[in-house]
Amino acid sequence: MTTSTLLRAPDAALAPPREVPVASQARQTVRPAPATGTGVAVTLRGLAKSFDGHQVIEGLDLHIPAGQFVAIVGRSGCGKSTLLRLILGLDQPSAGRIDLENQGARSATRRIMFQEPRLLPWARVVDNVAVGLGGAGRRQERRERAAAVLAEVGLTDKASNWPATLSGGQRQRVALARALVSRPGLLALDEPLGALDALTRIDMQDMIERIWRNQGFTAILVTHDVAEAAAMADRILVVEEGRVALDLTVDVPRPRRRGDPELARLEGRILDHLLKDRAPA
């Protein structure tokens, strides 16, 4: 049973309101069904963060248009997770500012998907998804919304299971549903697929990409995997020592084919950059 056989056309009630696509105007030729202006635009100005005198992020300027899918890659400890936490408002910057604008967006809610599923083991799958709604709504309504999102990730039949009975990939899909149930304007993905096997990972990448195209939220993916970044993102930022060292646009039409030579060229370029100061073997 593959995930794709379980996938359905998005529920009419779930489809985002059609508005003038803001973020995608420039790429209309690239994406036929583009984001619909429901994402949050993020602007960072002179952002800095230090821990105990150690500078992790230094004077970072960055604009992420609404609805863009950005991948942040970099070596361990380059500050990419810190950057993500700052954008989410989980940490306060030492200097600089973060502006979020949501022109006509449905919600300014920011959500994160962690590296681990972090499901409550004592709550059934549907209730775990409902955690993403915060305290809003009556019990019945919460469950209905949660069930609708579970259908989107192909887990309708697992709604009343305990998380312990699910596979790793299924748990991460529940975590995705929990992040999406409140229809966020921004979804941060902190290496969410790192612990999955290769095939489950590709299924998840396709699923995240498909949902992103339907909903049009702004997506920020932190990953070690350059191939994953190239397969999913509109734009790849290579972060080194707290700065954006490389800012690349991925102009490959979707749906993207794995092994596309242009993607491979892009991956090669990023890897060369990341490995450039490695001693020659």
């Binding site: 681990e116 409550l120 004592w122 709550a123 955690v131 305290g135």
Partner: protein
């Protein structure tokens, strides 16, 4: 056929835990009947059953059992709720922990039964004395395990709850308390054991009613069958308390694979 087989193995599985107790009782009866063991020191199981029948007909057994149960329950509720409350407070608040934990850890190492002479001086041999001892006895296992349970809640889940906008109350009810529950149940089991132990000792030393008193009085009249009857009743009460805890665990910890098949 396979159904019959599973049914058979199911019955066998249910009976297995009782094989050893039944064998012991059968051997005991045989030893007593053949005169291998003097019934002056160890009455036959049939004598114990007869003593039980006798005591329950006069109502003596039931009134003693009831009064012991009341003491155990009230003492447990007092000590358990204070222990639970302090465990929560110290698990959730650093100030509270700094203030009280060191003191509690010191007091914890005093065997609570060593307080019996003091307790008799304070309370005489009235109900307060027994309630006090039972309450102190159950306090520490509940306190320590509640505290440990709250400390060992997965910090990643707590962070998730915060990031997803849970209020402190919601965070406590949906993340912290359920996460601490397995450990709290461990404390509950320990506390139930200590509850009986304390009560029996207290009743044996100073009481005018209750199961322990019944046993001590029987000893004075050399009614060895009643003494053994009291011991058997303790064993049964322990088993009942354990079964109740398991039922609670099965309904509250159903999510946990470790508890699913008890």
């Amino acid at each position: 056929m396979s159904r019959q087989k599973t049914l058979g193995s199911d019955i066998l599985g249910r009976l297995t835990p009782w094989l050893v107790p039944v064998a012991i009782i059968a051997g005991w009866q045989a030893a007593a009947s053949t005169g291998l063991v003097s019934t002056r020191f160890m009455p036959a199981p049939s004598d114990v059953i007869a003593a039980g029948w006798q005591a329950s007909r006069t109502g003596e057994l039931w009134s003693n059992l009831w009064i012991s149960f009341l003491r155990a329950a009230v003492g447990f509720l007092i000590g358990g709720s204070i222990g639970f409350a302090l465990g929560l407070a110290n698990g959730l608040s650093q100030l509270s922990e700094k203030l009280t934990d060191t003191t509690l850890q010191m007091v914890r190492n005093i065997p609570h039964l060593s307080l019996i002479p003091l307790v008799i001086l304070w309370f005489g041999i009235d109900e307060e004395a027994k309630l006090f001892l039972v309450a102190i006895g159950v306090f520490f296992p509940i306190y320590a395990n509640t505290l440990h349970g709250i400390r060992s809640v997965d910090p990643q889940l707590v962070e998730m709850g915060r990031v997803y906008g849970m209020s402190p109350t919601t965070l406590f009810l949906r993340v912290v308390l359920p996460g601490a529950l397995p450990s709290i149940f461990v404390g509950l089991r320990y506390a139930l054991g200590i509850m009986w132990l304390t009560l029996i000792v207290a009743e044996t030393i100073s009481a005018s009613s209750g199961l322990g008193y019944m046993a001590m009085q029987a000893r004075e009249f050399m009614l060895v069958d009643v003494v053994v009857l009291a011991i058997v009743i303790y064993a049964l009460l322990g088993k009942i308390a354990d079964t109740l805890t398991r039922l609670l665990e099965r309904s509250f910890l159903a999510w946990n694979p470790a508890y699913r098949n008890i």
